[in-house]
Symmetry: C2
Subunit: 214 residues, 2 copies
């Protein structure tokens, strides 16, 4: 099984799928989406995904998947890897995937966007402060859970680790300082030490205009 | 199988679990959480759920679940109901659960909170405008997908419908007008016509101080 992943480097959500595929051994081919030119919200792209979002994965049997968590769960189904060792662990994995969508990536992704990619004249100090507050609540939850642990669920890596960590490897500033969250920092090192791990900017083409000119 | 659901009336996420349990026929007992007095963020509650969130479900075999989507998926596993009819439909259900967490409930729940439950002196016009813009994108996605359909996935109700619709039944103002989104309105009527459907305020005790005094 293989497929094409519609993606771009800045997308932490695309990164979750791409890294999962690499670590379980599913080959994939990138299809670059020129996000900052609005390609993901174009009518042509909305025909592929009504949600107007990256990533989209088109498996070689023709199945179209959207939402990185769906792709991650599919990769677990295909290979039996990274899904937790018991049904209770699988439920814990699902819990962290949902939390990531609700409280972590949805907030941190937005904060990073507003602080780094949105045109300065559209940035609001109140909005940044609001989202930053919510992001700190998420960091605190992660830190508290990871104290004394190497992984989010059980005693080995799962797709939950790849989902919740994805945005934290990006270099753009969004109020995350490893020194402030030592348990999170230890966990990020564990993930980055997995054989085959790569940084998002080493896996996918970047779309932000100044990055493309580099 | 049965269990105790830690909940309060204003929580659209608790409502997703409660309504799912009712519609698949799993009996549950409510445990009231006094949310607006901070009970969900108390150290005692964080011992039950490090995420500091409602709902929490404690099944009668002792398993503790958090995240409404985990409870909904567990209810599907237990009963074979509302999970979609094929593996591809089940994946579509998951797609909408994740989208709901990422783009719908996480935004609309926050907007409703800021506009209705946050002390007026802490409300920011910029923040409200920002979240309201994101909520409108979510309404548009739902409307586009539901045009010509009765349900989000396949030709019958699933837990995806219960998840994505939950906040839209609340009476507090948060910029949702059924006249503006006819396909969404039709779908909300379909869900509310399901045998056993109830409004959240008829299922769970309200926690907001003025509501408690009514």
């Amino acid at each position: 099984m293989t497929g094409k992943l519609y993606c771009f480097g800045e997308s932490g959500n695309a990164y979750k799928a791409a890294l999962t595929f690499d670590l379980v051994g599913i080959p994939w081919e990138p299809v670059f989406v020129d996000f900052f030119k609005g390609e993901a919200r174009s009518p042509a792209f909305r025909k592929i995904n009504v949600m107007g979002e990256v990533p989209v994965f088109v498996a070689d049997d023709g199945e179209v998947m959207t939402q990185s968590g769906v792709m991650q769960l599919w990769a677990v189904e295909q290979t039996g890897k990274l899904g937790g060792k018991t049904p209770a662990e699988a439920r814990e994995v699902m819990r962290w995937l949902l939390w990531d969508n609700h409280k972590m990536s949805s907030q941190i992704g937005t904060l990073r966007f507003v602080q780094n990619f949105l045109a300065p004249e559209h940035r609001s100090a109140d909005v940044i402060k609001w989202i930053a507050g919510r992001v700190r609540v998420a960091y605190k939850t992660l830190e508290q859970h990871l104290e004394g642990r190497d992984w989010l669920v059980g005693d080995g890596p799962t797709i939950a680790d790849l989902a919740c960590s994805s945005y934290l490897y990006y270099p753009e500033p969004f109020g995350f300082d490893r020194d402030e969250w030592p348990a999170v920092a230890h966990w990020l090192d564990n993930i980055a030490a997995l054989p085959g791990w790569r940084h998002p900017y080493d896996m996918m083409q970047r779309a932000f205009p100044t990055a493309k000119e580099e």
